[in-house]
């Protein structure tokens, strides 16, 4: 009998520890039900195009032309492609050495990195160096690269907000580091209290952990809160004092649904603070084409920008990037187009702006519809979605429901979400997948279903929830639905 090559016992323990609820149990169950013919509404992942959002026209025109450059020689190309798309395709092709099919510089095409730097400068008012901008196959890969650079072993701790996007917890597990949680205050609109930070760091150090970095997600995921300038200053000051690398996940910077706290980048605040802090805090900022009003998740386009990282470290990060040769070139072009969209006067400008505004305004309305809808449900309290793409209502589960969950050997919010799925086809992610205070339960849903479908979805949820609550609050205690 041959010995087992790779059995479960000999698998890397770090891999076993990884959890990623976004595509975990609920999603797998939803996929099973879908195969059986049930209509499923997937609100488990921020995947706008999967829920009917249309791609912006201009970037698709440009990239299509780049894919098939022989079209540019065809006299009839102008019949279905506008002149500015044709010109832009030629521009991007000229930035490559051999078109879309050649590995680019491992950091991404220099010409596109320059466009990104220019975008950052326009946004923040400070110059940005293209040499410190690395393009990646989606922001997630960039996050993984940076965390892999930081984490040496389980003695290294990374401060992560709770609730958090589980890419962070999964990656820290994978690389054998320690997650140091800091709690966001639900009652204060998911605000960040520096005292919580201090406490978390102190506790971690007592356990012998060296806290190396701090992750902020702004706007937040799953919580949606937008950090104020004052808050960002506190955070940066904290990182300065505690010698932490600040990791600024800013992938939702275009998704802002209130006017009190517009997006302000960590870099801008850092540089506004002047020396010594502006020169002393190490910062890595992440962005992507997957979110915003672009929603081009499938392209896998993203970048990270490094500030105050020593040249030798930059070289090491470059070296690791070079092992994977280069990020995908079409994704890089999407990124270029995102940071450098059509301008007033361009042929495609009007259409582009109409499409973009349409999406953003609709998202803003849907954020409100969902928040209000959840708040109208029994035992459900929901903070307003200030930004990003999610709603994270708190569900107060009655003790009988928690008991029933225990009997079914499910975490209580998983139990609730599975019942929700089976009753309504709505596929969410239980709050336990993101982290929450002990005994407090949530679920995460996206605000992405089409606006016209929203009322029906919220009605369906309300009906399920109110029946669930009636059942489990009822002293007569029915058996499971």
């Amino acid at each position: 009998m041959s010995p087992k090559a790779l059995d479960y016992d000999s698998l890397n323990e770090n891999v076993k520890k990884v959890q990623y609820a976004v595509r975990g149990e609920l999603y797998l169950r939803a996929s099973e039900l879908q195969k059986e013919g049930k209509k499923i509404i997937f609100t488990n992942v921020g995947n706008p195009h999967a829920l009917g959002q249309k791609p912006l026209t201009f970037p698709r025109q440009v990239v299509a032309l780049c894919q098939a450059p022989f079209l540019l020689d065809d006299p009839n190309v102008g019949l279905i492609f506008p002149a500015d798309a044709i010109a832009r395709a030629k521009h991007y092709l000229s930035l490559t050495s051999g078109g879309l099919g050649a590995y680019s510089d491992s950091r991404g095409l220099p010409g596109i990195r320059k466009e990104v730097a220019e975008f950052i400068e326009r946004r923040d008012g400070y110059p940005s160096d293209p040499e410190l901008i690395f393009l990646t196959d989606g922001a997630s890969k960039g996050v993984m690269q940076i965390l892999n650079t930081i984490i040496r072993g389980e003695g290294d701790g990374i401060l992560v907000p709770v609730p958090q996007y589980p890419l962070y917890s999964a990656t820290i597990s994978l690389f054998g580091g320690s997650l140091v949680p800091y709690y966001l205050e639900e009652t204060a609109n998911w605000g960040l209290d520096v005292n919580n930070l201090r406490q978390s760091v102190a506790e971690a150090r007592k356990r012998g952990i060296t806290v190396r970095a701090m992750v902020i997600i702004n706007p937040g995921n799953p919580t949606g809160q937008c950090l104020s300038e004052a808050n960002l200053k506190e955070i940066i000051r904290f990182c300065y004092l505690e010698n932490l690398v600040l990791l600024g996940d800013e992938v939702y910077q275009q998704n802002i649904y209130q006017d009190e706290r517009p997006f302000i980048s960590a870099r801008k605040v850092l540089l506004d603070m002047g020396p010594p802090i502006s020169k002393g805090v190490q910062l890595v900022s992440f962005h992507t084409v997957s979110k915003g009003y672009w929603g081009e998740c499938g392209q896998r386009g993203g970048y990270f920008e490094m500030t105050n990282i020593p040249p030798q470290t930059v070289d090491e990060i470059y070296k690791i990037a070079s092992i994977s040769l280069s990020p995908n070139v079409p994704g890089q072009i999407f990124l270029g187009l995102m940071v450098n969209p059509p301008k007033p006067g361009d042929i495609s400008y009007l259409k582009f702006v109409t499409e973009s505004k349409g999406i953003l305004e609709s998202l803003r309305r849907r954020a409100q519809i969902m928040t209000d809808g959840f708040n109208s449900c029994r035992n459900v309290v929901c903070n307003f979605t200030e930004g990003a793409m999610y709603s994270f209502p708190q569900i107060h589960l009655p003790p009988k429901a928690i008991e029933a969950a225990k009997k079914a050997r499910k975490v209580p919010d998983v139990f609730y979400c599975l019942k929700l799925l089976e009753a309504t086809g709505i596929s969410t992610v239980p709050g336990s997948g993101f982290g929450q205070k002990e005994g407090v339960f949530h679920l995460r849903t996206t605000i992405l279903p089409a606006e016209e479908d929203m009322p029906a979805i919220m009605d369906s949820f309300k009906k399920f929830n109110d029946e669930f609550m009636a059942q489990y609050e009822d002293n007569r205690g029915y058996s499971r639905m």
Binding site: L11, N47, I150, T171, I209, R212, C297, G298, N328
Partner: protein
């Protein structure tokens, strides 16, 4: 005799005793991080992200393909742009990397038509589109779009890749091998490299986990093993026997490693080979399969060059086909087969498309593989589509078939010619022997470096093959990679060049290389 440890492997092995000391260092520095101290200390020498404090595995990794020599070349290129005539050559010729389209190779038209239509499906409804695209590319685009929920090519897909595309790939594998393939065994990835990383992550828990790698090898493997904290266990390919693989040597290396307390977990085979270019003989492949089965090793079959075979007496046979034809099924051998859209005749490196076919693993391992894949959500959709096109290109009778075939054969026959021309040129140089490139995209000539040259290299604090390669670059503008980047028998020197510059550039390359070599040998003759 061949009692050697490739320098890379030794480095990896030795280096891995240091992480724990790093850990102790970081713990002792904890006490200095309290606010009061930090405010007081002006030197932030233990700054969070300095080379002293980053992951030591990152420091250990090397990847010569885009290493030092390329940095120098880029500098020279810039100098040429700023001051034309400042060097004895007009242009830099990058022969360091298998990047065909950067050197003028054209993409396959049909593939690009389909990709363009999938990128911008809105035009499929326009009548003008019929005039710009072939009918079968339009049909294929519709077919693919119908397999994508909502026709949304901008949406994250299933984490293994779009089901319909995996069906196509599985059918392509079955047609190639004559044995069935299951779409659920296919994991589409951003190129083959991320798939290799994924497997290393699963297989390696610590430095006592060893992975058998061929020497010379493609340095993705050494780098990935170092990055994941494992140990590279080398097995030597026999240069004199056309880079053949001796099972007895394999067994010896395994025993050796085991006696040092290493658990061997997997065997990497690159077929056709990189940098060596050999296509394994079938009986060699059968020996390898049996070996893995007996020893309980995962067979990692890097088959990205499967469409690059240039000699009539050899054929590519996938390891899956070999294993199945030996009567071995899921219970007998754990096999991971890697394929990519970057090589072959399509050469679509920049697209980052590829997959691994995973067979012979238990369901709970499969779950773990899926879980790791899901953290990154999915690979880029355009790359997924391309992978499916590569595994099911136009067939006889399709409108685009003739032109597709002409493009494909044109590229492959040109590659074969260039391989031969460069091989002959290298063999004509005094002190240089070069094995035939039976497949892949590279030549890996061996150079007898005179003692005088070796001493000069030592004085310049460079490895002798790097010394030669740098001189070559400065004299001719040709960029190749020193053999030490791939591993070689100590005391032997090689470099890897690609066969990719366009045919019209080859004569100039040959003459410049010849001239340089003669001058170099004259200068350093003992």
């Amino acid at each position: 005799m061949r009692r050697i440890v490739a320098r890379r492997a030794k480095d990896c092995y030795l280096a891995l005793t240091s992480p724990s000391s790093f850990f102790h260092r970081s713990l002792s520095s904890t006490s200095s991080s309290s606010p009061a101290d930090s405010m007081g200390s002006s030197s932030k020498s233990s700054s969070a992200l300095s080379v002293d404090s980053i992951n030591p595995k990152v420091l250990k990794c090397e990847y010569a393909v885009r290493g030092e020599i390329v940095n120098i070349a880029q500098r020279l290129q810039q100098e040429l742009q700023e001051k034309p005539g400042s060097h004895p050559f007009d242009e830099i010729l990058y022969c360091n990397i298998g990047n065909p389209q950067s050197l003028g190779q054209q993409p396959i038209t049909f593939f690009r038509e389909v990709l363009a239509l999938c990128d911008h499906p809105a035009i499929l409804d326009r009548s003008e589109t019929q005039g710009l695209f072939s009918a079968d590319s339009i049909e294929r685009a519709w077919q693919i779009l119908d397999q994508i929920p909502g026709r949304a090519t901008g949406a994250y897909s299933h984490s293994q890749g779009i089901k319909g595309l995996r069906d196509t790939i599985a059918a392509g594998i079955a047609e190639r091998d004559g044995f069935p393939a299951d779409p659920n065994d296919v994991f589409l990835t951003d190129g083959a490299s991320p798939a290799v990383h994924m497997m290393m992550q699963l297989l390696i828990s610590s430095e006592s986990d060893g992975i058998l790698c061929p020497i010379p090898q493609y340095p993705l493997y050494s780098a990935s093993i170092a990055l994941h904290g494992g140990t590279l266990v080398p097995y030597y390919l026999d240069e004199v026997a056309g880079w053949g693989l001796e099972i007895s040597d394999l067994k010896k290396q395994v025993e050796d490693a085991r006696s040092k307390g290493i658990t061997i977990r997997a065997l990497v085979v690159i077929n056709p080979g990189n940098p060596t270019g050999q296509v394994l003989a079938e009986d060699n492949q059968r020996e390898i399969v049996d070996f893995c089965k007996e020893e309980g090793l995962v067979l990692l079959a890097d088959e990205v060059y499967q469409e690059n075979v240039y000699v009539p007496d050899k054929k590519f046979h996938s390891f899956k086909k070999i294993a199945r034809s030996m009567g071995y099924g899921e219970k007998d051998i754990s096999l991971v087969s890697f394929q990519s859209v970057s090589k072959g005749y399509y050469g679509e490196c920049g697209k980052r498309g590829g997959y691994m076919e995973v067979t012979g693993f238990s369901p709970n391992i499969r779950e773990q593989i899926y879980k790791v894949a899901s953290v990154n959500l999915c690979s880029n959709i355009s790359g997924q589509i391309l992978a499916s096109l590569v595994m099911s290109p136009p067939k006889v009778g399709d409108e685009s078939y003739e032109s597709y075939l002409a493009e494909k054969n044109g590229i492959l026959s040109s590659l074969a010619r260039r391989a031969k021309t460069l091989e002959d040129a290298l063999n004509s140089l005094k002190g240089v022997t070069c094995n035939k490139a039976e497949g892949a995209m590279y030549l890996f000539p061996r150079i007898e470096l005179p003692q005088k040259a070796i001493k000069a290299a030592e004085a310049a604090k460079t490895a002798p093959d790097a010394f030669y390669v740098k001189r070559l670059l400065h004299a001719t503008g040709i960029v190749v990679v020193p053999g030490s980047g791939f591993g070689q028998v100590p005391g032997t020197w090689h470099f890897r060049t690609t066969i990719l510059p366009q045919e019209d550039k080859i004569p100039a390359i040959v003459s410049r290389l010849t001239e340089f070599h003669q001058k170099f040998m004259d200068e350093f003759r003992d």
